[in-house]
C-alpha cells in the first residue's frame, strides 16, 4: 500500500499536479491498478487510457462538475493483482481518502471483488475490463459494465461469423484459464448449432512452452477454421509455431492478444487476417471520436492502444465525465444519470440496462493490412471479412 502511495505521489509530482491542485479545488478520483503481479502486463493498457483522459480534461480547463470546471487529481494504489486487496483499497479510497469519484480496477475478478464495497457505500463506479457471465449476478445500481464481450454472446456470434466466412469444420484449442474455458463452454454448442464440425477440441495449460503436437494435430485434421481461445502469451506462441507448421486455414481466431500493440510488432504482415475479440475500431466513421482518440494515443505513447482494454477504459472515463457534467458529485444523482442516459463515446452510443451495455453489439476484429477492422456484425463493420 505504501509503495502505491509513494508511487502515486511521485507520479503526481512528476506531472506537476501538486502545483495545479493549489490553484484549483481538484476533483479527486480514486482507483487501484495492477501495477505488480499476475495482471500487471495488462494494466498499462488501462492506466494509459486514464492518464490520457485526465491530461486531456485538465488541458481543457478541468472536469465539468455540473457547470464548474475542476482539475482532476488521481489517488491510486497498487492492488498487486489481488482482488481482495483491491476491495480493501476501494474501501480506503471511499472511507479514508474520501475521493470524489472512482474509476475501475483491471480484470473480471477485481471488478467482482469491489462490487460489494461500492454497493455497501452506494458509490457508483463505471467498470471497464470485466467480461464474464458472472457480471450479470452483480446487484445493479452502483456498477456498470460497458463491454459487449461476454462469453455467452461471443460463442454464438463467433459461430455465425465462422459460418458466414464459409467455415465448415474447425479445430478449437483453449487455455485452461477461466475466460477461455467460459468461452469454450458456449462456443462448442454454438458451432454445432451452425452445422460446423468440431474436429479438434483440446485444452492446454497456461504455461505451455511448445505447441508442435497440437498444431500438427490441427494441420492433420484438415480444418478450414482454427479457433484458439488463447491468452496473450499463447497467442504469441501460436502465431510463431502455426507459421512454422504451415497452418493455412482461411479462418483463424485468437481470443486475447492480437489487440495489443506488441502483437503487430512481432508478426507484422504475417498476422494479416487473424480475427480476434473486440468491439472498437478507429476506422468506424459513425463514431467520430474514435479516430482522433487513436491518433492522440499513438502520438502520446508511441504505441497503438489495446483495441479492447484501452478503448473500454477510455469509454468508462467518458461515461463518468458526461454523467458528472449533468449530475455533479452527488452520488444518488450520478447513479440515476449513469443508469438512464445514452452516452456518446469513442465506441459510439452506450446505454445501460441493468449492469450491461445494451447498445454495443458483440463484435470481432480482423487485422487487415496492419489495421484492426471490425468485421462482425454488419451494422458496425468497417470492412468485410477477408480469408487469410
Amino acid at each position: 500500500m505504501l509503495k502505491g502511495t509513494i508511487a502515486a505521489a511521485a507520479l503526481a509530482a512528476a506531472l506537476g499536479l501538486g502545483a495545479q491542485a493549489e490553484a484549483a479545488d481538484p476533483v479527486r478520483i480514486g482507483f487501484s491498478i495492477a501495477q505488480t503481479g499476475l495482471f500487471s502486463q495488462a494494466a498499462p493498457s488501462q492506466m494509459t487510457a486514464y492518464e490520457m483522459w485526465r491530461d486531456e480534461v485538465n488541458a481543457a480547463g478541468g472536469l465539468d462538475v455540473a457547470g464548474e470546471r475542476r482539475v482532476i487529481e488521481f489517488v491510486w494504489y497498487d492492488d498487486e493483482s489481488n482482488p481482495t486487496k483491491a476491495a480493501q483499497i476501494y474501501e480506503k479510497l471511499i472511507s479514508d481518502d474520501k475521493v470524489d469519484l472512482l474509476l475501475a480496477p483491471w480484470g473480471t475478478p477485481t471488478h467482482l471483488a469491489i462490487a460489494g464495497v461500492v454497493e455497501q457505500h452506494q458509490f457508483p463506479v463505471v467498470g471497464n475490463t470485466a467480461a464474464s457471465v458472472a457480471v450479470r449476478d452483480v446487484a445493479p445500481g452502483n456498477i456498470w459494465f460497458p463491454t459487449s464481450a461476454i462469453p455467452d454472446r461471443i460463442g454464438p456470434e463467433l459461430a455465425k461469423l465462422a459460418k458466414s466466412a464459409g467455415v465448415t469444420s474447425v479445430a478449437v484449442i483453449a487455455n485452461v484459464l477461466p475466460f477461455s474455458q467460459e468461452n469454450l463452454q458456449f462456443l462448442i454448442p454454438a458451432l454445432e448449432a451452425e452445422g460446423i464440425a468440431v474436429k479438434v477440441n483440446e485444452s492446454y495449460p497456461p504455461d505451455i512452452a511448445d505447441m508442435t503436437t497440437l498444431l500438427t494435430q490441427i494441420k492433420d485434421a484438415g480444418v478450414d477454421g482454427v479457433i484458439a481461445l488463447s491468452y496473450p502469451a499463447d497467442s504469441f506462441l501460436y502465431m510463431g509455431q502455426a507459421k512454422e507448421i504451415g497452418i493455412a486455414a482461411p479462418f483463424q481466431f485468437l481470443l486475447v492478444g492480437p489487440t495489443i500493440s506488441a502483437f503487430a510488432d512481432a508478426f507484422g504482415a504475417g498476422a494479416d487476417g487473424i480475427v480476434t475479440l473486440g468491439h472498437w475500431s478507429p476506422y468506424q466513421a459513425a463514431w467520430p471520436k474514435a479516430k482522433p482518440f487513436y491518433d492522440a494515443y499513438v502520438a502520446k505513447f508511441s504505441m497503438r492502444p489495446d483495441y479492447l482494454d484501452t478503448a473500454l477504459a477510455y469509454m468508462s472515463c467518458e461515461i463518468l465525465q458526461q454523467a458528472v457534467a449533468v449530475a455533479g458529485l452527488d452520488k444518488a444523482k450520478l447513479r440515476e444519470t449513469i443508469a438512464g442516459t445514452t452516452f456518446d463515446t469513442i465506441n459510439g452510443p452506450v446505454k445501460f440496462e441493468g449492469v450491461q451495455n445494451a447498445v454495443t453489439p458483440t463484435a470481432f476484429l480482423q487485422l487487415q493490412g496492419g489495421e484492426m477492422h471490425l468485421v462482425w456484425p454488419a451494422e458496425i463493420a468497417t470492412s468485410a471479412f477477408k480469408a487469410r
Partner: protein, 295 residues
C-alpha cells in the same frame, strides 16, 4: 502416432531444450561454485531480452548481435553484485551454513527490484520484435529462422562453456570449486577470481538466453519467472553443480514436455513434468548425472 517420429517434434525438443540448457547452465554455475540460490535468474533473462529489444528498436541491431552485448551487461551486473555483496557474504559464511538461505532471500529481493525497476523504466506493456521470421525447410522439417538461430547459438554457448571448463585452467578452477570449495582453496585455487569468472559466466549466459528469446516471445518485466522455475528443475534433474548433467537435463525436460504431450494430452504437460521431477528427487536425489554420495 506418426508425429512421434517426425523431425518436427525433434526440432521443437532441440530448440526448447537448448534454451533450458543455457538458462540452467548459468544458474548451475552460480550455485555450483558459490552455493548461491539465484531465484532472480529469470530476471536476468528478462534484462537480456530488453537489451535485445532496445538494441533492435533504437539501433536496428540484430538480437543475434545484441546477445553478446546482453551477455556482457549481465556479466557486469553479476560482477558488481559479487563485489558489492556476495564476496562479503561468502567470506562471512562460516560453519553456520546459512549462505544458501541468505542468498535465496537476497535474490528474491533482487528479483522483485529488477521486475519493478524494469516496469517503471520500460512500462509493463508487452513488447516484441520481428526478426528472422521466415520459415526454411531442412530435410522435410520446417524451421523458423529465429528458432534455428536460437538452437545454434544456445548449443554453441553451452558447448563453449563446458569446453572452457574441461580444457582451460580457469575451467579447472571452477570445477575444483564445484567439487570441493575448501579443498580447492587449500590446493591454491584463487577462489575470489574463480568466483568472479563463475558469476560473470552464469549471469552472462542468462542475459544471452534472454536476448535470443526476444525474437520469439513477448518481452515484459515479468517474463522471467517461468525460466527461473525451468532452470531450477533442470539443475535438480541434472544434479546441482553438475554442469554437463544440467545441460542434458535441459533436453530431457523439453522432451518430457513435447513428447509427453504428444503421447497424452496438452493438459498433462505439467503433471508429467513435475511427475518426472519428483520421481528423480525420490529415486536419484543427487540428480540424473550426479554421483552418489560416498559413505
Amino acid at each position: 502416432m506418426d508425429v512421434l517420429l517426425s523431425g518436427q517434434l525433434a526440432f521443437s525438443v532441440a530448440v526448447l531444450g537448448a534454451v533450458y540448457a543455457v538458462v540452467g547452465l548459468g544458474l548451475n554455475l552460480v550455485y555450483g561454485t558459490m552455493r548461491l540460490l539465484n531465484v532472480g535468474h529469470g530476471e536476468l533473462v528478462m534484462l537480456g531480452a530488453y537489451v535485445a529489444f532496445w538494441g533492435f528498436t533504437l539501433a536496428g541491431l540484430s538480437p543475434l548481435l545484441g546477445a553478446p552485448v546482453a551477455a556482457l551487461l549481465a556479466a557486469l551486473l553479476g560482477l558488481a553484485l559479487y563485489g558489492g555483496l556476495f564476496r562479503r557474504m561468502l567470506e562471512a559464511d562460516g560453519a553456520g551454513g546459512r549462505l544458501e538461505a541468505n542468498s535465496l532471500l537476497v535474490f528474491l529481493g533482487l528479483s522483485v527490484v529488477l521486475q519493478n525497476a524494469s516496469a517503471l523504466a520500460f512500462t509493463a506493456s508487452p513488447r516484441a520484435i520481428r526478426h528472422l521470421d521466415e520459415v526454411i525447410r531442412v530435410g522435410g522439417v520446417a524451421m523458423t529462422e529465429n528458432r534455428l538461430a536460437i538452437l545454434l547459438v544456445a548449443v554453441a554457448a553451452c558447448a563453449g562453456t563446458i569446453l572452457l571448463l574441461r580444457l582451460g585452467i580457469h575451467g579447472l578452477a571452477i570445477k575444483a570449486l564445484i567439487d570441493n570449495r575448501r579443498a580447492a582453496r587449500i590446493v591454491g585455487v584463487d577462489v575470489d577470481r574463480t568466483q568472479r569468472l563463475s558469476i560473470a559466466l552464469g549471469f552472462g549466459l542468462a542475459g544471452l538466453a534472454g536476448a535470443l528469446l526476444a525474437m520469439i516471445e513477448q518481452i515484459s518485466p515479468f517474463m522471467g519467472f517461468p525460466y527461473t522455475v525451468a532452470a531450477f528443475v533442470v539443475i535438480v534433474l541434472g544434479g546441482l553443480g553438475r554442469l554437463a548433467g544440467g545441460v542434458a537435463a535441459g533436453f530431457v525436460l523439453a522432451a518430457v514436455q513435447v513428447y509427453g504431450v504428444a503421447l497424452t494430452a496438452p493438459t498433462y504437460a505439467s503433471v508429467l513434468l513435475y511427475g518426472v521431477f519428483v520421481a528423480v528427487l525420490v529415486l536419484r536425489p543427487q540428480g540424473m548425472a550426479g554421483a552418489r554420495a560416498r559413505p
